[in-house]
Symmetry: C2
């Protein structure tokens, strides 16, 4: 029923002062916005120790509350991870949108490539967060409407760009746009996931993995273009 107005500064707990201050100073029983605090704690936990090390209790500890407190805001650990994933997905989406905005004057295929580079770039720059938004083990895609919708939005953007490309004669014509979208998603997802899962160590050890991915993307896109 309506958003809860943040109880502006009802007193954060973490104002130093360890081991019980002489003057009790009630110090606010309620946290203010534990939801954000816990999500933030979880994110820092992920960045420091990886997705496997995430624990509800440690997140609670970092937020300075009891281990049962998070359950007031998330029914279970999966729900917390979903919240983290949604936030990560937001950043990925923003990154893609920025790339598309920067290339708004270019041809569809160039913009499609920009989208791909933004996606791969984000995944390689934020491997653990990419892990969160992708592995089912951490968060059930189907259980989070928001995540599903954000995913779908990207897919639709890809479809739009490729349809434009087809109309402008940039795209090969012997494969349906839907098929190409699926193929391209698999390619990008696969490349990112292979990196995250440690399946790309033998490839040009000297070269940075991100650059490897980018040039693989370029080659892949070449196969989609209409022959000159």
């Amino acid at each position: 029923m309506g958003e809860k107005k943040t109880v502006a500064e009802t007193g954060r707990r973490n104002d130093g002062d360890p081991a019980g201050s002489p003057r009790p100073r009630p110090r606010a029983y309620h946290h203010g916005n534990l939801v954000d605090a816990i999500v933030q704690a979880t994110i820092s936990l992920i960045e420091e120790r990886g997705t496997e090390a995430v624990s509800l209790r440690e997140a609670a500890r970092r937020a300075g509350v009891s281990s049962a407190a998070p359950f007031r805001h998330f029914p279970n650990k999966a729900a917390l991870m979903a919240a983290v994933a949604e936030q990560a997905m937001e950043r990925l989406t923003a990154s893609i949108e920025a790339a598309l905005a920067e290339t708004s004057s270019l041809a569809p295929m160039a913009r499609f490539e920009a989208l791909g580079r933004a996606y791969l770039g984000w995944a390689f720059d934020n491997p653990t967060h990419f892990q969160v938004i992708s592995s089912r083990a951490l968060v059930d895609l189907q259980a989070s409407p928001r995540l599903r919708q954000q995913n779908e939005a990207i897919r639709l953007t890809m479809t739009d760009l490729l349809e434009s490309a087809r109309r402008s004669g940039e795209l090969r014509t012997d494969i349906s746009v839907d098929q190409i979208v699926l193929s391209a998603r698999a390619f990008g997802y696969g490349l990112a996931r292979m990196h995250v899962d440690g399946h790309l160590p033998e490839w040009h050890p000297s070269e940075a993995p991100k650059e490897t991915a980018m040039s693989a993307l370029a080659s892949y896109l070449r196969t989609l273009r209409r022959e000159a």
Copy 2:
């Protein structure tokens, strides 16, 4: 130092007879081959309840030994999962080799497609096992030389086939074979992983996901062939 000969039937424990038989009948203190028993228990556990539900203790329980016993044979849970993964990888490899044997008389690209179909077919038929051999969360690829080597063998086979295809003029010539191998691996891995991770629900809900993947593979391969 040398393989341990199986102590042939030194007395399995699971010969019914619950709750302590009247005549003690030592019944063999040593299990015989706990390693296999535990790996097998883990596999059945994975099949019944998924990769997330795997627990060393439950596997021990199913093998009829104490919860500390597995640690005599595996330094930790990851090592057990690695053993399971190696076995799964063996089956995947066998499936691919069978497909290649069946198509030994065909042209390189046709055999390359057979390899792809075998890979995707196996992944779609054994999603949880595919999960085990791929996600780093379950087993560290780099820590298991056997797994790495099996993976590398597939990669080499792909390279060989594509080089043959190039020599016979079946393959497009504007992209290096190594690049194509990487791209193809990403495509296949991505498709399989998307399925396993639940990222392929919206695509032709009527069609079976496996068929969807197969036709996506066919389209993808079309982009690799030299233009007629």
